[in-house]
């Protein structure tokens, strides 16, 4: 039972971390390698909130806003000139990640930071005692997933975004301001990354390089999922589950590469990944 909960919560955390990256990849067809850096920024937002003595829950909206604001700047200055050069965009965003990482180091130092727990202790769930916060992560992942479904299917922005995903030049010809769609998507993606970083703080240590470890897993899941949130959820459950199983029964170190290796193989056998059509 604990194992099943481990799988569910691991998948939930992965989903939260990867969703921002997926939003950007789906619409912009750009891999945002600064994603890890935005996670770190989000986590440090929690540190700041704690430092100022505010309610730890405030760190969630704060991290989203900071991520979104920085994302807007990034889109205009760095990503926009590189839409036609996707491989260069990977590099430029990676470079940006280095810069952000170093800025954080200069500001806060290299040491691991401590943040207060948003939710402590365990709760009894279906007969086992389980970390309350990890269960909350599942709720948060569902919220993000439902939020995206609503955004895509229920709003004008979602409609435009879907149009851009399907056929960008046609969307532009129909009078959709694709530049704005891109900007908004990027901002939401980086905002989510910040939020995810803040949500991660009770689960991992906070240090300037924490984002890199998460980046690769999230990146591989997004490659497999294509541009569908449903596919991402499935991928998180499957590969997150595999990671938990390998870590539990074989070797935690190998567990760390399970996602990457399985995703690479899936892509080799079926280049479209889990995405349909």
């Amino acid at each position: 039972m604990t194992l099943l909960l481990d799988i569910a919560t691991t998948a939930a955390v992965l989903f939260i971390v990867a969703s921002g990256l997926l939003a950007i990849f789906g619409v912009l067809k750009i891999i945002n390698f600064a994603h890890g850096a935005w996670l770190t920024v989000g986590a440090y937002c929690s540190v700041l909130i704690a430092h100022w003595g505010l309610n730890p829950w405030l760190s969630l909206p704060f991290a989203f806003l900071v991520g979104a604001a920085l994302g807007a700047l990034t889109e205009r200055l760095i990503v926009k000139p590189l839409y036609r050069r996707p491989l260069d965009a990977i590099l430029a965003t990676w470079g940006l990640g280095i810069v952000i990482g170093q800025l954080i180091t200069l500001w806060f130092g290299r040491d691991v930071q401590m943040t207060p727990n948003l939710m402590s202790g365990t709760v009894g769930f279906l007969g086992v005692d389980y970390s309350a916060y990890r269960l909350f992560a599942v709720v948060a992942a569902l919220a993000v997933g439902i939020g995206f479904t609503f955004l895509l299917d229920g709003t004008r922005l979602g409609l435009s975004a879907r149009a851009v995903i399907m056929n960008e030049s046609l969307a532009r010809a129909l009078g959709i301001d694709t530049g704005n769609v891109r900007l908004l998507t990027f901002v939401i993606g980086t905002g989510l990354a910040g939020l995810a970083g803040a949500l991660l703080t009770p689960l991992t240590s906070v240090d300037p390089n924490m984002g890199v470890a998460w980046l690769i897993g999230a990146f591989m899941l997004v490659m497999v999922a294509g541009s569908s949130f449903g596919a991402l959820a499935v991928a998180c459950l499957l590969f997150g589950g595999a990671q938990v199983l390998v870590s539990t029964f074989l070797n935690p170190v190998l567990g760390g590469v399970t996602i990457a290796v399985l995703c690479a193989l899936v892509l080799r056998l079926n280049p479209k990944g889990f995405a349909r059509g």
Binding site: I31, I78, P81, L82, R85, P86, L87, D88, I90, L91, A92, W94, G95, L96, I98, V99, Q102, L103, T105, L106, V212, I216, F219, M220, M223, N251, V253, L254, G256, V257, A260, V261, C263, A264, L267, R268, P271, G277
Partner: protein, 593 residues
């Protein structure tokens, strides 16, 4: 023979040996004039520069963005250290370490290459694999226990009996040898293939070149070079650590290459040495600020000057990238290759039965039967959306899923890649001229012959051997005067002619032409029509032509096939089709067939 051969020596045949000799002198006296710290750091920097060269060839020339060279480097270093630590340190064991340090990365390079490159694989996917690979290797090192020393790495093994200065000279010597070899390779005919793949991989495979196999071999060879660098590193530094294999190191290599100037060989060498040396000097005083500056510079460089410092320097110094003084390519007609199987020319070269192709519930082609014999010039007409281009794709790419029988020269082409089908004797000209914009006209034509005449890895040819029919097109269209021009400077019509000459240079038995005259002037059309007629009538080549211009079709065709809404509605002689009421109704948008 056109264009008299000029015997002016190319720039690099003079400058390169001079540069290499100068570098050798510098490397030889370096340890005498430099202090201990500088010698130590520069030894490492020069080894890293070797890696930067491999990244440059893969990324700068062939367009494959890779983070994986770090892993091959690390594997080479670990193989060396593991043999020295656990197996033995006699000279024979050192030699074994060397062999393993090069061979292991090469074998893994084959594996990584197989994973990364296959028909229709995307560049992004190859980069993904190159990212996963170092991560996996690093984790394996961490879980390697005593064998790999886990997180603390291996240290204290016996190294080659060289002093500090000896390692400096060894690293420098290897760097110069590899740099010269890389330079010669990228300027050779085979090296041009790298650029052709970067420019237009689709065209490469439709010239019968198996690009996947080439890229896999390239990956394996450069993995071996990275392993060699790893061997040097393990001996020179006396320590190997997990960071040497990691993807972060892989990204650093890319950063150096980008800052130095991708696609220049020299730029990445200077980038690697300069940045690594500076960082060793500055990181003591301002460690984070320094990385911050490099990172920021990198971002700005990627956005503003993707060519790196090398591009800045050449722009300021006003050095043209393509010195026109070397104009000395000669066209030489070669006799057509013996046409094995020409005897059964009366049989169908291409045979299609009940071909169907659909995207979801939308049927693009349905129940198509068509066969074409040698010497026929069949025009495929029909309104837009009738499925003409799809039909062309189905017979030139067997990996495209479709139902029914597709045969070329009696062989089923189902699941064959475009390059396999070219080898059966099918050449395809695309609707939009598909050529290599970064190459010269002569190089483009040479690409077309590469599947037949294997290219040299060392030399850049000064002559161009073309079959007579292709040579004739080159001359008729005036391309023979432009052999040294960059393709990017050609007009639309010239590019169309060039592509046609390239396809004909393949000596195909069947040519597929998708609107070869679109956007051409009347004289250009007439000329292309004449060329097609002589190819089919005199040489017995078969041609299938998609064309909208009915007058043009009427003049040159031996048979006309009409497609309408995915079905073949008419197949007959020019007279039959042109006078058919059906065709008139189809074209005037009347009732459905």
């Amino acid at each position: 023979m056109v264009n008299p051969t000029r015997t002016s020596r190319p720039f690099n045949s003079v400058a390169l040996p001079a540069l290499a000799a100068g570098a050798l002198v510098v490397v030889a006296i370096g340890p005498i004039v430099l202090d201990r710290f500088a010698v130590n750091v520069l030894t490492r920097s020069m080894i890293y520069a070797v890696l930067a060269i491999t990244v440059d060839i893969l990324w700068g020339y062939a367009g494959i963005l890779t983070f994986g060279q770090a892993a091959f480097f690390g594997i080479g270093a670990y193989a060396t250290a593991i043999v020295a630590t656990h197996v033995g340190d006699s000279p024979a064991m050192m030699a074994l370490g060397f062999v393993l340090a090069v061979a292991t990365p090469m074998l893994l390079g084959l594996l990584v290459g197989w994973l990364s490159f296959y028909h229709n694989s995307t560049p992004l996917y190859a980069s993904v694999i190159s990212l996963v690979f170092p991560i996996v290797v690093t984790q394996l090192v961490f879980s390697g226990g005593v064998w790999t020393g886990s997180s603390s790495g291996l240290v204290g093994y016996t190294t080659l009996p060289l002093e500090l200065g000896g390692f400096f000279r060894l690293a420098g010597f290897c760097l110069i040898v590899i740099a010269v070899a890389a330079w010669i390779f990228v300027k050779s005919d085979a090296g041009k293939l790298l650029i052709a793949i970067r420019d237009n991989e689709t065209r490469c495979s439709y010239l019968g070149l198996n690009t996947s196999r080439f890229k896999i071999l390239l990956t394996a060879c450069l993995a071996g070079v990275a392993g060699l660098a790893g061997f040097l590193y393990a001996h020179a530094s006396g320590v190997v650590a997990p960071e040497n294999t990691g993807f972060v190191f892989g990204t650093e290599l890319v950063v150096w290459t980008a800052l130095g100037g991708r696609g220049t060989i020299l730029g990445p060498i200077l980038g690697a040495i300069g940045i690594d040396y500076l960082s060793a000097n500055l990181s003591g005083e301002l460690p984070f600020l320094y990385q911050l500056i490099v990172g920021a510079l990198f971002v700005v460089m990627i956005i503003v000057v993707p060519g790196g410092l090398a591009a800045v320097v050449t722009k300021i110094a006003g050095i043209g990238t393509n010195p026109t003084a070397i104009a000395s390519v000669t066209v030489k007609g070669v006799a057509s290759r013996p046409s094995a199987g020409w005897v059964e020319a009366r049989d169908a070269l291409i045979k299609i039965e009940n071909l169907g192709k659909s995207y979801g519930s939308h049927h693009v082609l349905e129940g198509i039967d068509l066969s074409v014999r040698a010497g026929e010039l069949v025009s495929l007409v029909g309104p837009n959306g009738a499925g003409k281009t799809t039909l062309m794709r189905c017979v030139s790419d067997g990996t495209l899923e479709a139902t029914g029988v597709r045969q070329v020269c009696g062989r089923s082409i189902v699941r064959l890649t475009p390059s396999d089908i070219v080898a059966l004797g099918v050449g395809r000209k695309f609707q939009v001229a598909s050529v290599f914009d970064s190459l010269t006209v002569a190089d483009c034509l040479r690409m077309a012959r590469m599947a037949i005449d294997p290219p040299s890895v060392f030399a850049a040819s000064r002559t161009l051997a073309l079959p007579l029919s292709s040579e004739r097109i080159v001359k008729l269209t005036g391309l023979d005067q432009l052999l040294d021009s960059s393709v990017s400077l050609l007009s639309h019509g010239q590019k169309q002619s060039l592509e046609l000459a390239m396809v004909v240079a393949l000596e195909p038995r069947l040519i597929l032409l998708d609107e070869p005259t679109a956007g051409l002037t009347k004289p250009e059309r007439t000329m292309i029509g004449g060329i097609l007629k002589s190819l089919t009538e005199e040489l017995g080549v078969a041609a299938i032509l998609v064309e909208h211009d009915l007058d043009f079709v009427r003049e040159i065709s031996s048979r006309i096939v009409v497609l309408h809404q995915g079905k073949l509605v008419l197949d007959g002689s020019v007279e039959e089709v042109v006078n058919s009421a059906l065709v008139k109704s189809v074209y005037s948008g009347g009732g459905h067939a």
